[in-house]
Amino acid sequence: MASSYPPPFEGTGEVKEGFLCPLCLKDLQSFYQLQEHYEEEHSGDDRHVRGQLKSLVQKAKKAKDKLLKRDGEDKPETGSYESFYYGGVDPYMWEPQELGATRNHMDFFKKHRAARIDHYVIEVNKLIIRLEKVRTLAQTTADNHKLFKSVVAWVSDSDVPFCPDCGNKFNLRNRRHHCRLCGSIMCRKCMEFVPLPLAYKLTSGTREARSVTGSQSQSQSPPTGGGGNVSGMGSRRGSISSLSSVTSMLEEKDDERIRCCLHCMDTLMKRQQKLEEKDHVPDIVKLYERLRLCMDKVDERAPEYIRMAESLNAGETTYNLDTAGGLRMEVQKYYELIDALSKKILTLGMKEEPQPHQKTLQLQRMVRYTATLFVQEKLLGLMSLPTKDKYEDLKEKRKQEQEMRLTQERLVMAQKRRQDSEKNRPAASTNGEAPQAPRAPRMTKAGGWLPSSDTLHTCGELEDPLLQQIDNIQSFLRQAKAAQRHDEVAMLEENLRQLQDEYDQQQTSLAIALSQRLAQEESLQQDELQRLEDREREHRAQSQAPGSQATYTWQGSLNLTDIGSLHGEEEGEEEVTPKAESSPLSMRAFPALTDQDEESPPRLRRLRGDVTPPGGEGQNSSSLNPFEEEDSTPVEDPSNPFFEEIQKEHKEVANGKKEYNPFEQEEGGEEEQGQAEGATGNPFEVKEENNEGNPFKEASGCTPPGASTNPFEGEDEEAMPDVDVIEEELLLQQIDNIRAYIFDAKLNGRLDEVELLSENLRELQRTLQEQKSKTH
């Protein structure tokens, strides 16, 4: 595959790769850096080019996301298109809409802030350093103005006739005071004090491991607030006539505190607050983090459980009942934890004396509310599991159903074949893979190859995403080429090469292991085909050369492809992407099919991955290839076991429909990895189970889990006659559910429902008791 798109620079000898800036060819490590670089360096250049680049980068980003299966930042945007507005509000199709225009001012902002911050930081640091000096001075020596002056030059008294803060005139009564930290002058009223412990704390960062007699300063009586002191002094002032004694008294007090001005105090307080916040993580944050963790876990586990439960309730044997039970327990544990945690958050600080701020309480209420919403939404969707006996019944029933369907299908098949021959449609072909007419046998074959070996099965899963990505990239490439965006082409090609290398590696190792088995199977298939062909010939009235028929078929489907992509192009650039994506797949599949026999094993392996699509893969590749469609339809349209009867026209319609919603396809691709486990698993394993004995069973093995009716209904029918034998487990599950509802109803204040529900609960519990007494 790599050879089909040789990189354009290869001939020149010098190959530049990576995220090159289209203007200066500088290599930047990532898209983001490239974008940034471009905006910085070339923002002055031609606007038009820039716009182009932007869209290019966006596209490339998309491609990259797909490559890496990254469910990162961009995904919510792309994923959210169809979630808005197709449900009755706005039936007309608005084209997918990207985020509106934005403009970022952060650079400008930062530039101006930086200047300011530098200034601020210097100020703060200066203050802190001085504070440290002053603090040691205040602690060790008696108050000495000279010493303080050595730290910071004091403003001379004569320069300041009025207090700069309050504007009062200085005189004998209203004396000047100097800030020990900046040397400025203020009056007594505007004076502040830094208590020594605070000073100690503030400077602890700058002071390294210097041991200070910290205990000494701490053991001193806690300093009283500045205001209280001032008033105390004021009241005493009248009785003391000597100014010096006042001064001495004040200085004495100063031993424990450092005098400073309002502004310095303000800065210091801000700093202190910051320090405190840095270390302090409030309880609510800790609890909240745990809460989110639990929610994430639930988001991760619940879908898995639901898948299991669905499968089990349908009587499939993909999962083990015990594992599912264990998972259920785990999920429920998380719910309980979420409930408990959110309750704790709700009541945080309620008992403390000064009630927390009303906004804090509101926050706690909202967190709790969200948690309950979460529990409600997710827990109520948690279906119950069948009990062991029930499960056996279900399995049995399913088996029967399958058999029935199989017979029907065979009937249908016969009819169909007759019809086909009547219409003289090109049905069978000499080619081994042409699946049109010999449908049922082919399915048998599918069963024959795939499920019997687990390794095969798992490799199928592994390779699908890779292949898909390759396809995606190829379509991007073509698009980019069409748009003459060479830089993008180069980039994409690089990606493609890497992918293909990886893929090839994977394949060769696989192929070696598989080639032998394949060879065997191949011969088997050939035999079978031969037989089928013979039968076909009998049916057919006119005998045409099978080979030409086959080619005709191919052409037909190719045309379809073309039409599909044409449509896509008409509908606008955006939509082309996903559609074009699928076309190369089918196109590639055809040539591969025809010369399959000569191909090497890895190639074969890949081909099979494409053509026999299990589960999710089927949906992705099915859009244009009618053959594949047949495989996947039973999976997609579970309710109709007679689907095969529906004429080709229908299929084509279905194809068309699918094309219409390109996003789903894309989505499917992205999610595939996550779902691969379950989605691809089901049909296979069932096949595997039934594989022994009747090889025809596989055909019906494709019938999906949903085909059987509502699991509950089924259960009920059987549960009704002997209510007494209700399983304990089932009861417990029900009790769980009802409790959840009660909780919910209480929360919303619907008392009547609570009553009703609790009655149910009581009844259930009673039944449980009876049950227990009976068994023991």
Binding site: A101, K111, R116, D716, A719, E753
Partner: protein, 569 residues
């Protein structure tokens, strides 16, 4: 071209940008409405936004464990408040988004206030409009006109709103305006000026056919907002009043506490989404079905859940039931109240006559009917006035106009002086003198024949005969037949092809009837996307207020100019 989605995407992008953790959304009065129209509380809670605060609210606690997302209009007060906030930050990090273009000097001022480096993001996200429906936006501005010209403060505000719509939709349009309206021209020029000034912003990928902005003036069609409506959304607005998709039901007799204010949002309410544009009769049927459905699901109190299977069925249905019960009670209440008002105010009869006045051309029958209804004591004051207004607008220059007689009739009925004066204000606002296009009298032969056939066949529904003028205008626009002489282009270039993306803006307010018309056009005309906007969305009541304001302001202005003639009209 989906305005709701545009705003939603902006907001989810903001939240996304701020990363995980508890968040608070700091907004101003207007952005609060902008956000609340597109997002419900529970939706936004799921994105970890737990508190919603107003930037101007003093009652906010220090919560350093929260991240703040500020979504603000770039007004002076907001910037000032934000500066104060940054000086003493209450939250740990600030992500600041302005809903419109902000000046460099203001950013500088903000930067200088951010001494503690709490700001992590300063961006412009152009969600500066109320996205009522995907194809309908409003600016929630009333009283935009003073006589025939702009209220000076509101022209810049309207320009901002309209340009933000263009930016959010990434459209750099050609502009056409209604020649008869000076306001339309002024607004068009103002928008054009912004586009020129901020050319970097408007540098979008060029489409084959450039988008088109069509600016109209409400005074060209004063009839549409005067008519009673019969489709769900329009009817709710007409009779109960929709404000940012909320209805105030507190005046409804015997209303329960939690239904005093209900939200009608097509985003989250399936029933509403499906019935928004259906007429009253259809809604009646649908709500009956809804009720029946609900009754089936409702757990019966008396019925004992005897077997496990009963229990199971109950448990399975419970969540669905719970969800349904909210919807059912809401819509049953709303529709019940609507039908109460309809019968109380004889709206069937009134509406029939309104439609006759608006759509038919039979003066004698119309005047007779108006007179008859005015004499009916059960027709409310408001409806009486609006009938007279419709008559006055319709037969303004008819040779045998009975308008003076009707005014007398109104007086006799005890209609307040204020309301009577409104009739003259209305004629002044939307009369023939100001109308550019011909609102009611179809002149060309095609239209006359159409009218004739209509009369011959009878109409399907007498209450919904009227089609707003806007529909005709857009129809012509789409067909490329809209006359340049009436709707000239701003600037030298003109559109040669059929327009594809059209943004229609109605100065003086759009109506839900017009929104419905646009919705239908969008649905039926392939390849054309239309978004409708207005300075506000009118019902009759708000329209009358608007007209009164306009007239009063216009009068005051003229008085000033004329040097004071107290009784001049």
């Amino acid at each position: 071209m989906n305005v709701t989605l545009a705003v939603k995407q902006y907001i989810s992008k903001m939240i996304e940008n701020s990363g995980p953790g508890m968040k608070v959304l700091l907004m101003d009065k207007e952005t609060t409405s902008i956000v609340s129209v597109v997002y419900t509380q529970s939706e936004i809670l799921q994105k970890e936004v737990y508190l919603f605060e107003r930037i101007d609210s003093q009652n906010r606690d220090n919560m350093k464990h929260l991240k703040a997302i500020c979504f603000l209009r770039p007004t002076k007060e907001n910037v000032e408040n934000l500066i104060q906030e940054l000086r003493r930050p209450k939250y740990s990090v600030y992500f600041i988004y302005f809903s419109n273009v902000i000046s460099k000097s203001e950013i500088k001022a903000l930067a200088e206030a951010d001494e503690q480096e709490v700001v992590a993001e300063v961006q412009e996200f152009y969600g500066d409009f109320i996205a009522v429906n995907p194809h309908l936006f409003s600016l929630n501005l009333s009283g935009v006109a003073r006589g025939r010209s702009w209220e000076p403060t509101l022209l810049p505000r309207t320009t901002q709103g309209l340009t933000s719509v263009l930016l959010a939709l990434k459209k750099c349009p050609m502009i056409r305006y209604q020649l008869s309206s000076d306001m339309a021209k002024r607004l068009g020029e103002s928008v054009k000026q912004i586009i020129t000034k901020e050319y970097e912003l408007f540098d979008f990928r060029k489409t084959e056919v450039p988008p088109l902005l069509l600016i109209l003036d409400r005074s060209d069609d004063a009839i549409t907002p005067l008519l009673n409506q019969w489709t769900y959304q329009a009817m709710v607005h007409e009779l109960l009043g929709l404000n940012n998709n909320r209805i105030d039901l507190s005046r409804v007799p015997g209303i329960s506490k939690d239904l005093k204010e209900v939200v009608l949002s097509a985003e989250n309410d399936e029933f509403y989404a499906n019935n928004l544009y259906l007429n009253f009769g259809e809604i009646g049927t649908n709500i009956k079905n809804l009720m029946e459905d609900f009754q089936k699901k409702k757990p019966k109190e008396q019925q004992k859940l005897e077997s496990i299977s009963d229990m199971k069925a109950f448990v399975d249905n419970y969540p669905q039931f719970k969800k349904m019960s909210g919807t059912v009670s809401k819509h049953v209440t709303v529709v019940g109240e609507l039908s109460r008002l309809v019968s109380e105010r004889h709206l069937m009869e009134v509406s029939e006559l309104e439609q006759e006045l608006a759509c038919q051309n039979d003066h004698s029958s119309a005047s007779q009917n108006v007179r008859r209804l005015l004499q009916n004591p059960r027709v409310s004051e408001m409806d009486a006035v609006r009938l007279v207004m419709l008559y006055a607008l319709r037969y303004e220059r008819h040779s045998s106009s009975i308008l003076p007689g009707l005014m007398e009739e109104l007086n006799r009925k005890g209609v307040s002086e204020k309301h009577c004066r409104m009739v003259t204000s209305m004629v002044e606002y939307g009369g023939k003198r100001v109308r550019g296009s011909d609102l009611v009298n179809p002149q060309d032969a095609v239209a006359i024949t159409k009218q004739f056939f209509k009369g011959l066949k009878g109409v399907e529904n007498v209450y919904t005969q009227h089609a707003p003028l806007l529909q005709e205008t857009l129809d012509q626009l789409i067909k490329g037949r809209l006359k340049d002489s009436h709707f000239p282009y701003l600037g030298p270039s003109s559109l040669r092809d059929r327009p594809q993306d059209i943004i229609v803006f109605v100065i003086g307010g759009a109506t839900y009837e017009e929104a419905l018309a646009i919705y239908n056009l969008n649905r039926t005309v392939p390849g054309v996307r239309i978004v409708l906007g207005g300075t506000t969305i009118h019902n009759t009541k708000s329209f009358l207020e608007e007209v009164t304001l306009t007239a009063a302001a216009g009068q005051a202005e003229r008085l000033q100019r004329a040097g004071g003639h107290p009784n001049r009209r």
